[in-house]
């Protein structure tokens, strides 16, 4: 049974979301502020965290997300009433969130996304490439370990999944819609800015120079391509 923590200052919302997830077979803890959410996170090691962004007291959702990212790659889903521009959404994703939903969201969609996110976070043993090492970048997809220049790098579940899908198709262009479907799921086909944001995050973590990427190349208006580098 997956453990999920919901943090939202609106009682009516966290209770309704909690009831729905409980009903759908999840183990749910609801918290009313960021600090309480973090405590619950440390105590329970959940499989997924749902965070409201704007909360009146103390830490907001972005702060909580960053604190979680400092220690773990647990999937985080942002739930915001505030976002009005793509930049706001990108800011949330950059804080380390795997998902960004704008209120109001219907319960069915909400649970669908929760499931998709959990699915993404699971180790996929079907990937054909299990291991990659060119001396600079080393990836052990089986154990979800990534080393850059010998140093371990933490990737979020979504980032792992993205890297895995690209490496699986290395040398070939993966279209945006294909990426969305394979990494996020069919429900996400309209979230066209997701790949762009995550690719740039991923590049920042594994490329020598994120502005002039060597591994993950952009095929303008089509998609992205992973290019293996000759080993050192």
């Amino acid at each position: 049974m997956h453990k999920i923590i919901i943090v939202d200052d609106e009682q009516a919302i966290r209770e309704a979301l909690g009831r729905k997830l409980t009903r759908d077979g999840f183990e749910v803890t609801v918290c009313e502020n960021g600090l309480e959410g973090l405590r619950a996170f440390h105590a329970q090691h959940p499989d997924l965290v749902v965070l409201d962004i704007v909360m009146p007291e103390g830490m907001n959702g972005l702060d909580v997300c960053r604190r979680i990212r400092e220690i773990d790659d647990t999937p985080v889903m942002m739930l915001s009433a505030q976002a009005i521009s793509e930049d706001d959404i990108i800011e949330g994703l950059n804080a380390g969130a795997d998902e960004y939903l704008i209120k109001p969201v219907r319960l069915n969609e909400f649970t669908a996304r929760v499931r998709a996110l959990l699915r993404r976070a699971q180790v996929n043993n079907n990937d054909t490439v299990q291991r990659y090492d060119d001396g600079y970048l080393a990836v052990d997809l089986q154990r979800r370990h990534v080393y850059v220049n010998g140093r371990r790098v933490h990737l979020t579940p979504t980032e792992y999944k993205l890297l895995a899908v690209l490496m699986d198709n290395s040398g070939r262009v993966v279209q945006q819609t294909e990426l969305l479907e394979q990494v996020w799921g069919r429900e996400y086909l309209n979230d066209i800015y997701y790949p762009r944001v995550y690719i740039s995050q991923l590049r920042r973590k594994i490329e020598k120079d994120a502005a002039n990427p060597q591994y993950i190349l952009t095929e303008h208006r089509i998609g992205y391509r992973f290019e293996k580098q000759p080993g050192v």
């Binding site: 609106e10 009516a12 919302i13 309704a16 979301l17 009831r19 729905k20 009903r23 704007v54 009433a81 505030q82 009005i84 521009s85 209120k103 109001p104 969201v105 219907r106 319960l107 069915n108 909400f110």
Partner: protein, 629 residues
């Protein structure tokens, strides 16, 4: 001995009077004062020429007719001079009346004729050729004549002494009159020669004094007046503060008109207020006049300058200032007019024992007044403009602040509305799951209505946020192929197209130039328009999206439908926020009323054009023109 002196004096007077006459004739013969002065000099000339000849006849032998003429000339000149002097005095003190000149010349004419007759009949020539002269009997008529004219001259001099600019003139004229009186003393005492000498000298000194006071001094004064005007002009054009300009004008007016004090009143808030003083008590500054109070009110009302010789005597109304009656002597008040409007008045004041202002002074003050009016108006206009600019700046800042607050409000509101909406929707979804599938139809319908209304609310909030984003967000311009934009729009609207309720046609002219746009925003605008077209077109209709060359360097997108059309009375408002036309057949159409407003905003930010043609029942065509890249 006395005769010799008399000859010398006569000769000297003759020469000088001639010189002075030339100067007067050369300078300006049009002024009455100069004319009478000239006549006086001429008669002095005649009289002295005659006297010289007559005295000469005592020494050398002359022909009898010559002596007779000389004596006559002397007597005529002597009598005439007293009339001319009277006339001159009258002019000097400004006591002349209408037709004064005619009267004087007539009097002079009569007197001269009379004197000529008397003189010709009374002169006797001795056998030895010497002339038995100066045998003035105290002829009663002649005595009366001198008494009248000299007496009147003396009276005028005494009464008008303040009006005469220099004491020398007063003294000279007085001495002349006394000299003439001497001639009535006993002829045996040779008083006529003495009288002639005294009169000649008096005439000379008077003439010089007049020349100085009336011609030379005004000339130099004019120089200083030019200087004063220059200073006032400088003060005006240097754009210094109004207070300083007014002070400068007050000082110059005082200096210029040799006035003791100056006051400037301006109309402030419809009332005359003393704004600037020179030599008046400071406590009166900012004092306001009641309606009709003082000559200032009168001058502003009539827009005519006023001159009073004696404030207490000549002004019967309320005084301009409390101290006016007791301290003001002669005053002039001139209106400050700008265009057709009096904006205030300027008053120069002489003390009660001070000088009297004359008509020239009025002209000068009017001149200053005109300058002052320009200065005041300029400064007022400038101040108004400054104030206006400040006000506009303030308004703009206020608007900016309001706009910022509004944006903040929109953000807050969206958040505050979305949370309750989320809670309501989530609970509605739970309710649906909890309810048995077999609830009664009314309850099911109610739940549907709640859901639809919640969705509608959500749409409105999203519409507001979209519009706000379009309004405040910056555009990311790039060169975009029109065809791509059309394709992507179609892609986004696939769900409508797939419904198959309405046919969707696309027509893109080949080889269209690239357009400069934020593709996401422009696409959102096109989607909005096409979506609208779908919504308002009944089943079986057609929606067409075309792209073609527009007017000038633009590309035109046309969104046509065969829908219900926009009623004529609704057409002016379709781009207004939250406007939705009440139209039968469109009740089923959901929308926030913000779509077209958003489209309009986006097209405006693209420097494009947006318009439409529509006919009720026939359909609508929206046109969008966007500049080429």
């Amino acid at each position: 001995m006395l005769d010799t002196i008399a000859i010398l004096v006569n000769g000297l007077t003759l020469a000088l009077a001639f010189g002075l006459l030339l100067i007067v004739l050369w300078y300006d013969v049009l002024k009455p004062l100069h004319q009478f002065f000239g006549v006086f000099l001429l008669l002095v000339l005649v009289w002295n020429a005659g006297a010289l000849l007559t005295q000469a006849a005592l020494v050398v032998t002359l022909d009898e007719p010559l002596v007779r003429i000389a004596v006559t000339a002397m007597e005529l000149g002597f009598s005439g001079a007293s009339v001319a002097l009277f006339a001159l005095t009258t002019i000097l003190v400004g006591a002349q009346t209408r037709r004064f000149r005619l009267l004087v010349f007539l009097t002079l004419f009569v007197v001269l004729i009379y004197r000529a007759l008397v003189s010709l009949g009374s002169t006797e020539v001795a056998a030895d050729g010497s002339v038995q002269l100066l045998n003035y009997q105290a002829q009663p008529l002649l005595l009366a004549f001198y008494l009248i004219f000299d007496g009147m001259t003396l009276y005028l001099i005494w009464r008008g002494r303040r009006k005469i600019r220099t004491q020398e003139i007063v003294t000279g004229i007085s001495v002349f009159v006394i000299g003439q009186g001497l001639s009535f003393l006993n002829p045996d005492l040779q008083s006529f020669a003495l009288s002639t000498i005294v009169c000649s000298l008096a005439a000379l000194s008077t003439s010089f004094a007049i020349l100085r006071a009336e011609i030379l001094t005004p000339l130099s004064e004019r120089m200083s007046q030019v200087e004063a005007i220059h200073r006032v002009s400088l003060a005006i054009t240097s754009q210094i503060a109004l207070d300083t300009v007014l002070e400068q004008i007050a000082v110059q007016a005082a200096k210029w008109l040799r006035a003791e004090a100056v006051g400037i009143w301006l109309i402030r808030d419809g009332k005359l207020e003393l704004t600037t003083v020179y030599n008046l008590p400071e406590q009166f500054v900012h004092r306001q006049l009641t309606v009709g109070q003082g000559i200032i009110s009168e001058v502003v009302r009539s827009r005519q300058a006023m001159r009073l010789e004696d404030y207490k005597r000549d002004w019967g109304g309320l005084p301009d200032l409390p101290v006016a009656r007791d301290t003001f002597g002669s005053v002039i008040a001139a209106p400050l007019t700008y265009g057709q409007e009096a904006i205030g008045a300027l008053m120069v004041i002489a003390a009660r024992d001070g000088r009297l202002f004359d008509r020239d002074d009025v002209h000068l003050l009017e001149l200053l007044g005109a300058q002052a009016a320009v200065a005041i108006s300029n400064s007022t206009l400038f101040a108004d403009q400054q104030a206006l600019a400040q006000q506009i700046l303030k308004d703009v800042n206020q608007l900016k602040e309001l706009d910022r607050m509004k944006n903040e409000m929109v953000r807050m509101t969206s958040h505050d509305l979305k949370n309750p909406l989320q809670a309501a929707m989530a609970n509605l979804d739970l309710l649906r799951e909890d309810l048995p599938t077999t609830i009664n139809a009314d309850a099911a319908k109610s739940i549907d209505v709640i859901e639809r209304q919640l969705l509608r609310m959500n749409r409105i909030i999203r519409g507001i946020l979209d519009l706000e984003r379009a309004r405040t967000g910056s555009l990311k311009f790039e060169a975009v192929e029109p065809a791509r934009l059309v394709m992507e729009t179609e892609e986004e609207l696939r769900h409508f197209v797939d419904e198959g309720r309405v046919r969707f046609e696309i027509d893109v002219t080949e080889n269209l130039p690239l357009i400069a746009c934020d593709s996401e925003q422009l696409k959102r605008a096109l989607i909005n328009l096409v979506e609208n077209a779908f919504k308002f077109t009944p089943a079986g209709g057609v929606v067409r999206l075309r792209a073609c060359a527009g007017d000038g360097r633009t590309v035109r997108f046309v969104i046509e439908d065969t829908g219900v059309g926009i009623p004529a009375e609704a057409q002016p408002f379709v781009f207004d926020r939250f406007y939705r036309a009440n139209q039968s057949g469109t009740e089923h159409v959901s929308g926030s009323g913000l779509g077209l407003s958003l489209v309009n905003t986006v097209i405006e930010k693209h420097h494009g054009k947006l318009w439409f043609t529509s006919e009720a029942g026939q359909g609508t065509a929206f046109y969008v023109e966007v500049p080429q890249a």
